[in-house]
Amino acid sequence: MFRIVATIGILLFLSPLIEGILRKFKALVHSRIGPPLLQPYWDILKLLGKDDVRSPHSLLGPLPAWLSLAALLAAGLLVPLGTTAAIAGGDLFLFLYLVGFASVCTMLAGMDSGSPYAFLGMGREMMTSFVVEPVLFIALITAALKSHSFRFADMAFFQQVSGTSVSMIISGAALLLALQAQLSKLPFDIPEAEGELMGGVFAEMSGPTFAMYRWGFIVKQVVFALILTQIFFPWPLGLTGAWAVAAQVVKVLLVAVLVGLVDAVNPRLRIDQAIGYYFGVILMALVGLVFALVGA
């Protein structure tokens, strides 16, 4: 129980710091000073204190927002943090369901608001999911094949014991490429597309509901960075205790900075271009799977 509470606490209250560092980094690329490091916390606090203005057509209200954050936190519990996960028995199917559920919640919220921008954004979110979720699925299946287990704990352990393999490297790379879209960062922030859709699914959101989504995104960022680093890039090996935690934090930061850098130096792609690109990434993940099947 303590581990669960602690993990949720870490995800909720430390993830915004990573976001803050990311914003500082982006400002550096822009030649800006950037917002204070703690700005993401103030943003969430500010949104939580505001009125929740809702579309009169809304049937679901703030429900999808809360469910989405809850699902992402639950998914976070399955991912090994430090050396073990909060819920050690968690497997990849449960994780995929939870992550998928969170994006369904986002789409529902988009549909629920009745705004044409949100509706277009919802369509884009769905199209993006169709091509991005398979990458995650295939990559995780590859890891499962290699480690002969669907449990994250075993997958994370595999490379530490048996060393690396071609299939794991390829899958890891594919997952890294998919991360940009999973986290709605440029050039794939198409469902939100401030320029043409004014925030897409979030166009009509405000106050605490919007805070839940923002918070969810910030948590998602860390959860996905953890999956990537823990299962596919577990190096350096053999660390214990505080060192393991420190290494993990550094790795998550590295992933976040990498994602941030790509975000800063790219314009937004169109949905058709993005889908074309992700078909390539799916193929790449499949190649990884084939390698795993032949034992490489």
């Binding site: 822009h30 044409p116 320029g195 043409e196 004014m198 130096v265 790219n266 792609l269």
Partner: protein, 565 residues
């Protein structure tokens, strides 16, 4: 074809429809024709000669000649002259044949004349309101001479704007009237099927300021340059120069050479900052904020430089009729050169970074196509036309100020798309650096202090002048018919966005929703120009903040001082 050839050609072809011609100002040919011959004359010029349509101007001349005058302006770029077709409409029931079926680009001009002067155009394909707001009563035309400039007719809120019907199977996605990537109010109503734009409708002019009316009814020649500069917050100096050139043409005075060069420097500094601003905004529209931040950082020293030279970052207030208000001392020249060289160096780095950026090209290439023929049809100007391989540039075609003495290239591209417009603007900025260097050299040679020619006599009524100045967005055209009371009888401003904005409707059809903002952005729209509104801002001094009231009183006192000069 020379001027004589054109006149002879029209005379021969139009027969009885032709009335007379004159050349009131060298290079500005005036041809009076009968209303019935309008369409034929326009067709002849548009299809059989090198003429390029500029705009149509309407003018209430019931006091002067008992008629409504409508002028269709054309330019012969390669031959460096203007041809104006002058048509009279009946003062009681003004009706004229529409030329929009021949030249699509005349659409807005004719609708504007209809709104503001009440001249009806027979055969106009889209006779909806353009300029007047929806609640403006029918049959009240504010630009008529008998309409007082401060009159406020009662609001008729029941008139809803008749937007086009949805094409079957489409939904409406509204971009505007307020939309994050459009900095000003405009409304593009997109009819979309999934992600594809099937059709589009436009409504704008939400903030029409009636500046022309002010010029015709309330201000004097010496005051107008300052309000002309406030037509646009980005390329205001262009409007200022355009207007000053008009009055200088009409009164026949020569501007001192040093003032010419100072104007060129300010015009080019304005182009440099405007293109840097545009590139940043374009980057922002497609989510590339690094471009926005970096280009605006480079632009900032130019703004400071302008402040040092004129006293203001923008809206320089530098021009007076006959010259400029402030000299650029020779002692400042090295510093200006250094600042420009610094930007020059960084700008070339931007060019290298932009031209090899694959994702950027993916977003910009083959998007927002407007071909050479379509440009001619819609009378598109500036980088939009130059990206369609039309080498038009008022600086070369109708040289003004000192542009006849500086060496620069007209940059063109042949890709017809947003990418072409981007590259044209980036390269054009490099040409601007060159022009500034040359002008600075000239400033070092010319004597300091000789910066203004004063007009001693009154400007006679009934004179006509046209001026074209190349703004960063394209060519800015002003038209003047002088009045007897030290102010214009009719002053018409056609900013470059005015012909370019309607082309967006052509460019976005069949494209994806995601491309609409950047297509619109690619013309570098400037709605405040189109709408000619005055924004009353509270000026912030370093110590004192002026209230609106104080500013108002202050400008009132200023006016008195101008009149005594």
């Amino acid at each position: 074809m020379t001027k004589q050839d054109i006149v002879q050609f029209l005379k021969a072809q139009l027969g009885k429809g032709y009335l007379r011609h004159s050349e009131p100002i060298p290079g500005q040919v005036w041809v009076e024709i009968r209303p019935e011959a309008t369409v034929q004359a326009v067709e002849l010029l548009h299809r059989q000669t090198d003429a390029r349509y500029l705009m149509s101007v309407g003018s209430d001349e019931r006091e002067l000649k008992d008629r409504f005058g409508v002028y269709h302006l054309f330019t012969f770029d390669q031959q460096h002259f203007f041809v104006t077709l002058d048509v009279s409409a009946d003062p009681k029931k003004p009706r004229l044949p529409s030329i929009t079926p021949v030249i699509a680009g005349a659409n807005w001009s004719e609708r504007e004349i209809r709104d503001l002067l009440g001249v009806e155009f027979d055969g106009h394909p889209d006779p909806r309101r353009l300029v007047l707001s929806d609640d403006w009563p029918q049959g009240v035309h504010p630009l008529r001479r008998d309409f007082d400039y401060s009159a406020k007719p009662p609001s008729k809120p029941e008139n809803a704007y008749p937007f086009k019907d949805n094409p079957p199977g489409t939904t409406v996605v509204a971009m505007g009237p307020y939309f994050p990537v459009f900095e000003e109010a405009t409304y593009f109503r997109l009819y979309v099927e999934g992600e594809q734009v099937v059709d589009v409708d436009y409504r704008g002019f939400y903030a029409h300021r009636g500046i022309e009316k002010l010029g015709d009814a309330s201000l004097t020649y010496n005051q107008i340059p300052f309000i002309a500069e406030r037509i646009c917050g980005i390329c205001g100096f262009v409007h200022n120069v355009s207007f000053c050139k008009l009055v200088e043409h009409a009164s026949g005075i020569t501007v001192p050479r040093r003032a010419d060069y100072i104007r060129v420097i300010m015009l080019e500094l304005e182009r440099i900052h405007s293109h840097a601003l545009w590139l940043g905004v374009a980057g922002h529209i497609i989510g590339f904020d690094t471009v926005l931040m970096q280009t605006w950082r480079m632009r900032e020293p130019i703004m400071w430089l302008c402040e040092k030279l004129t006293g203001n970052r923008k809206t320089y207030g530098m021009n007076l009729i006959g010259g400029v208000r402030r000299d650029i001392p020779k002692a400042l020249v090295p510093e200006i050169r250094k600042k420009i060289q610094a930007m020059d160096k960084e700008w070339r780095a931007v060019l290298d970074a932009v031209k090899d950026d694959t994702t950027l090209r993916m977003r910009l290439e083959k998007v927002g196509i407007l071909t050479k023929d379509q440009c001619h049809e819609w009378a598109a100007v500036g980088p939009v036309a130059r990206a369609a391989d039309l080498p038009m540039d008022a600086r070369k075609d109708h040289p003004y100020c000192a542009y006849d003495a500086v060496d620069f290239k007209v940059i063109t591209a042949d890709s017809n798309d947003v990418w072409g417009r981007t590259i044209v603007r980036i390269l054009e900025t490099i040409e601007s650096f060159k022009i500034v260097y040359q002008s600075l050299d000239a400033l070092m040679e010319l004597p300091e202090g000789d910066i203004i020619t004063e007009i001693r006599e009154d400007i006679p009524a009934g004179r006509i002048a046209i001026s074209a100045v190349e703004a960063p967005r394209g060519e800015d055209v002003h038209f003047l018919l002088t009045g007897g009371d030290n102010r214009p009888y009719r002053w018409r401003v056609r900013c470059p966005t005015y012909p370019n904005l309607p082309t967006v409707q052509v460019m976005v059809k069949g494209e994806q929703v995601a491309d609409v903002p950047i297509i619109l952005g690619s013309i570098d729209p400037c709605f405040s120009c189109t709408e000619r509104m005055e924004v009353c801002d509270v000026s912030t001094g370093s110590i004192k903040v002026y209230s609106q009231e104080e500013l108002f009183n202050w400008t009132k006192n200023r006016r008195e001082r101008f009149e005594t000069v």
